[in-house]
């Protein structure tokens, strides 16, 4: 009788908790669940999948700049987006695949004379959520 009561209580508790856990799985997962962003920088060049000349202001003479992002604890193959904005105007959006268990990727743009001004790169996850915003300027 005591065991039956314990089993009933356990079933009730499970019935109460189970939907919450299921809802957590079906709802939007936190980025940490999918991956962990370990590094996000703006740089002039990428060599051997490592960023060179990290900065927040780039001369137009650099010719090309990149947004480097590194991830760990990637649960499964997914993707991120690098959205490049100049003066709040979307200039470029690049979808980059990342794979388990750790991954590094980058996107680049070619600089032109008209590109001077304040910029930002927004890093979005596959669930359309902003993970990080990098702000920099392109100068003379």
């Amino acid at each position: 009788m005591r065991n039956r009561r314990t089993i009933c209580v356990a079933i009730l508790v499970w019935l109460w908790v189970a939907p919450i856990g299921h809802a957590a799985d079906s709802g939007p997962a936190s980025p940490e669940k999918l991956f962990r962003l370990t590094r996000a920088v703006m740089c002039e060049t990428i060599e051997g999948y490592e960023p060179n000349f990290e900065a927040v202001a780039f001369s137009i003479n650099a010719g090309r700049i990149s947004c480097y992002t590194a991830f760990e604890e990637v649960m499964a193959t997914t993707f991120v987006s690098h959205k490049w904005y100049r003066h709040d105007e979307l200039v470029s959006a690049k979808r980059l695949t990342i794979k388990s268990p750790k991954w590094a990727t980058y996107s680049s743009i070619q600089l032109r004379e008209a590109d001077k001004g304040p910029w930002r790169v927004e890093i979005w996850d596959a669930r359309n959520r902003i993970i990080k915003v990098l702000r920099f300027s392109v100068t003379d």
Partner: protein, 478 residues
């Protein structure tokens, strides 16, 4: 519509007040100055003005110009020449008499006393010259004279013309019930058809009667006869009844006392009607004559906006109004008398379209609004909102060679701004004013202002416009 009905419908209450008010002024001028020479000269001046308007209408340029000059000069001359008469009239009357009262032409002349006095003088062989003015003034016709002011009575007349009296040798002027002046010198007549036995006294009576409408009574000292002279007529008066009739006719008291009063009332009524007709004609010539069109551009005033809302944009800031009216009004109105107003009390957040009507336009009295351009106005209103925005440093220029701007932080990294919804929707970042990298040599911190763009976006809350920027400058490692 019938043109007459159309015309009557176009008359405003202001027009009626205008005509009535000025007619009353004209009527009062007549009442105050009637009986003086000023009124006759003014009538002549009015005739000149009518003539001048006719010459303008006929296009006689030189004639109208000359008439204009004559009228201007004449108006000045009248004031100078008749200054004494004008002063006497104005000084003799109080404010009530000037604005409202109708002065009686004269107090009732005691005809019986006058008749008795005249025949008493004749019986006593005392020569006399008695003047009873008509409507015209005598100021220009008679000279000298001593102010008297005594009430008319038989004894008074005998006394005045008694040989021992120093003023017996002139004329006595009777106005109303008083002898106003004695010893007055009258102009002599140059007529050669007068009887030879008429002396200087008779010639003086005829002289004044020729020049004015006065009745002059002469009592012959030698022949004890009484003669009445008026205009060119010399009438021998043999009995007191005849004299009484002559006096009554001249003074407007003929038989019945009320007849004179009726005559005066009729005269005033005619004067009032003529005043109204004159002013009505002048008003018509100014307000309705020569219809003219014009157009004017005036600023559109937006009024009664909800204090919480801001005007974001308007399709127009000025409107063009097409007006019509008499050329006199069109030529004299000032642009600042015309206003265009739009009531925004019922405007809503967002785009509003209003149709402009005559109710939105204020024009001077007498002018008519024909058309408004544009007929519709679009007004966009917005309710101010607030929003948090990230702050980003706006770097410009170039660092010295070999240096690189490795990192920068800004405090605060976000601020709250307020402004129109549309403006806030268009911005996602608030930038600092430009920081020139060429002026930086190493890592440091500086204060810089936020660039608020667009201008209708403002900082909200406790946020200040200055932010702190900390930056790290390193050496490039090639």
């Amino acid at each position: 519509m019938n043109p007459l009905l159309s015309f009557l419908a176009s008359i405003r209450w202001q027009d009626i007040v205008d005509v009535v008010f000025n007619s009353y002024i004209l009527f009062r001028l007549y009442v105050i100055f009637r009986g003086t020479n000023v009124i006759r000269v003014l009538a002549g001046l009015a005739l000149l003005w009518v003539f001048q308007r006719m010459t303008v209408a006929l296009g006689l340029i030189v004639t109208s110009w000359a008439m204009q000059g004559i009228i201007t000069g004449a108006a000045l001359i009248i004031i100078i020449v008749f200054r004494n008469e004008i002063r006497n009239v104005l000084q003799a009357k109080n404010l009530r008499a000037l604005l409202w009262g109708v002065p009686q032409k004269s107090s009732r002349t005691p005809i019986d006393a006058l008749v008795e006095g005249v025949y008493e003088l004749a019986r006593k062989r005392i020569g006399a010259l008695i003047v009873l003015p008509g409507k015209e003034g005598l100021e220009d016709a008679i000279q000298g004279g001593t102010p008297w002011g005594g009430l008319v009575s038989k004894e008074m007349l005998v006394s005045i013309f008694w040989n021992g009296n120093p003023v017996h040798d002139g004329a006595a002027v009777i106005q109303g019930d008083r002898v106003t002046s004695v010893g007055a010198i009258l102009p002599l007549s140059t007529r050669d058809d007068l009887p030879q036995y008429y002396g200087t006294r008779h010639r003086a009576a005829a002289g004044l009667a020729e020049r004015t409408d006065a009745l002059v009574i002469v009592v012959s000292e030698e022949r004890c006869k009484v003669v009445a002279v008026q205009n060119d007529t010399v009438t021998r008066v043999d009995d007191n009844l005849r004299l009484r009739q002559l006096l009554a006719d001249h003074l407007g008291l003929g038989g019945q006392d009320t007849a004179g009063v009726r005559r005066e009332r009729r005269e005033l009524l005619v004067a009032a009607v003529i005043s109204v007709l004159c002013m009505g004609s002048i008003w018509f010539s100014f307000a309705k004559g020569m219809e003219t069109l014009t157009s004017i551009e005036v600023p559109l005033e937006y009024m009664n906006r909800d204090a919480k809302m801001q005007i974001v944009s308007t399709s127009v800031n000025t409107v063009r109004l097409h007006l019509s009216g008499s050329s006199a009004l069109i030529n004299t109105f000032r642009p600042d008398q015309v206003k265009a107003k739009l009531d925004l009390s019922k405007a809503i957040d967002g785009q509003n379209v209003f149709t402009l009507t005559a109710a939105n336009i204020v024009v001077p009295p007498g002018l008519r609004l024909n058309r408004i351009e544009p007929p519709e106005v679009q007004v966009s209103l917005d309710l101010p909102q607030s929003k948090h925005l990230p702050v980003q440093v706006n770097w410009v220029g170039t660092l010295p060679a070999g240096l690189i701007l490795e990192s920068a932080t800004v405090i605060p990294d976000q601020v709250m701004v307020a402004g129109p919804q549309r403006a806030l929707d268009q911005i996602a970042t608030l930038y600092t004013e430009k920081i020139n990298l060429s002026e930086l040599q190493g890592s440091g911190r500086l204060t810089v202002k936020l660039a608020l763009n667009p201008a209708d976006v403002k900082l909200a809350g406790d946020f200040k416009r200055e932010v702190q920027v900390s930056y790290t400058i390193g050496k490039r490692k090639e």
